[in-house]
Symmetry: C2
Subunit: 335 residues, 2 copies
């Protein structure tokens, strides 16, 4: 920077002003300085900058699992908001590993980012709470039970409710819920929501087939399980994830006599990209990941500007029904 100042024939402080408060410096001088910067190929040292300024303009986000499109959507949404405020977003991937998650959080704290967004593992109570530092932190897709942090969550219960309502609204009465393990709060809540919908509809029943996970292989197992029951046992199914639904539908599809949605209407969860593209496009509940990311980023930015005493809030985002062929049948058309 000293070089640039020399080359442009101005003081060091002026160069700094050109970079940070361009309105403070006369057009002509600004031009000269810019020219020198370009000519010398100067790149401002951000480490020095944030050391001196005491604040950085980048925000870090720690994601539980990059292979999960929900988290990618969250990151995308967060980035949009962060950029609007002239800041940058850096991502760290925990890869479903609690140790990495802690490592990543402290990595961001050490580098003195302006704030941290944390999309934690579902099972990660413990560690989350031990993060008590001065770096502003906002949770995404996980509620801080103690109210220590602001956060954004999807209303999973409502999602489960809507899914079941949709089936009931289509006249289905013998429902089954596919999903597990119940240790996952998200699954438990979706099930609770579905139960609530059933409870308020006389004559409708709901059985739960617990799976050991949420991917397609588990879905196929669940599909087999359904096949062991007498035909017609169920006429509507809520799956705790789209992959589960797709897997189960594959199995049912292979065995004639169980047509989707005629015999069994199927609805999934997550609005996984793949779900809309599978052979029978799967109706689903969309969690609006981008919106969650945007909201979380906004919360974080408020906290950055408002200081540590900023009121902690939890924003709840309602998921929405996205009906497709797996429930509507031929009435539904691809657009």
């Amino acid at each position: 920077m000293a070089d640039v100042a020399l080359h442009a024939g101005v003081a060091l402080g002026t160069v700094s002003n050109v970079l940070n408060k361009p309105e403070k410096v006369k057009e002509l001088t600004r031009r000269k300085v810019m020219a020198s910067i370009a000519e010398l190929g100067f790149v401002r040292n951000d480490a020095a900058r944030s050391l001196a300024a005491g604040t950085s303009n980048t925000i870090g986000i720690v994601l539980a699992d990059l292979s999960n499109s929900l988290f990618v959507d969250i990151a995308r949404g967060a980035e949009a908001t962060v950029r609007q405020h002239g800041m940058n977003l850096l991502i760290a991937n925990s890869d479903v590993d609690l140790t990495k998650q802690s490592l990543n959080i402290s990595l961001f704290e050490q580098s003195r980012v302006a704030g941290v967004l944390l999309a934690p593992l579902d099972t990660a109570f413990a560690r989350t709470n031990s993060v008590l530092s001065t770096t502003p932190l906002v949770l995404v897709n996980y509620a801080s039970e103690s109210g220590t942090y602001s956060g954004v969550v999807a209303d999973e219960v409502h999602g489960g409710y809507e899914a079941a309502r949709h089936l009931i609204g289509l006249g289905r009465t013998r429902l089954v819920f596919l999903g597990g393990p119940l240790m996952l709060m998200a699954v438990a809540q979706r099930l609770a929501g579905a139960r609530a919908a059933v409870a308020e509809s006389p004559g409708v029943t709901l059985e739960h087939i617990e799976t050991r996970g949420l991917n397609m292989a588990h879905g196929r197992q669940a599909g087999q399980e359904i096949l062991t029951r007498p035909a017609g046992t169920f006429d509507g199914a809520v799956a705790a994830s789209d992959l589960l639904a797709v897997g189960a539908i594959q199995v049912l599809d292979e065995n004639a006599g169980y047509e989707v949605p005629t015999d069994l209407a199927f609805i999934g969860y997550d609005d996984n990209h793949f779900a809309s593209e599978s052979a029978i496009p799967v109706s689903t509940i969309s969690q609006h990941g981008e919106e969650m990311g945007r909201a979380a980023a906004q919360l974080l930015i408020n906290e950055i500007h408002g200081g540590p005493l900023t009121l902690k809030r939890t924003v709840v985002i309602k998921p929405d029904l996205v009906p497709r062929r797996s429930t509507l049948g031929d009435d539904w058309r691809r657009d």
Copy 2:
């Protein structure tokens, strides 16, 4: 840090030594210092650290598209290697946007990361080359034509060749290649590889149906196109992506008379997670994203240690055939 020193009754420099060269300081003192650090909740300021030390221990990776699982795999592989060397990996997502890509690169340069891994957009010649700074940079999934940078690429030609060879080896003779636009180098190269395989096999023909993209919708269009031809026109298909293959198969599957793989054997490309899980598991060419990431990280670390004069190399990673039911039929079993 001064506080810690005071609290532990040692000099400032000693605290620094405890953190950086623990072997230089007596066990007892180290303990005292560690205790003080814990008690005071001290978090080392990395900005100051890298300013003073002149080097950082984090590496940045700029990814063209987080929704593409290949890039996520690359990041995962890179992270593994980076961690082995005691460094950290931060991710920035360009989201298929050239402007963001440049922004992200300069973001990393400004923050003085030890080095940058760049997985650029396929169309991004221009910008890539203008990155001429002192920060070590290694390309992934893209070759630096000028030899300015080291890089890791998949051998796309070989991949296309293997795909076609596989079909030919199964006795298929009337092949079709689905993919486009040819502007994408990867697609063009895969096609070239397939052509090479056909050229060396007398009696085998290859037609090219150009698509406008590589996702499932494009695949369905291609499937329609195939249906317009007289039955039996093709008996083997190479798709430039798994999604393309899955889409096309969906369409053919709905129209009786075109059974996969009996009538038409299908092979995709990318080893997309979904490809192995779709109704008919799709044979594919795997690019080994993690391996690419690991190799690139290693190259970068060499360059960081070796200085700017380090010999630039391009590592080529050969993709592999992963045969599944869409070519082998019932001979293939899910494991």
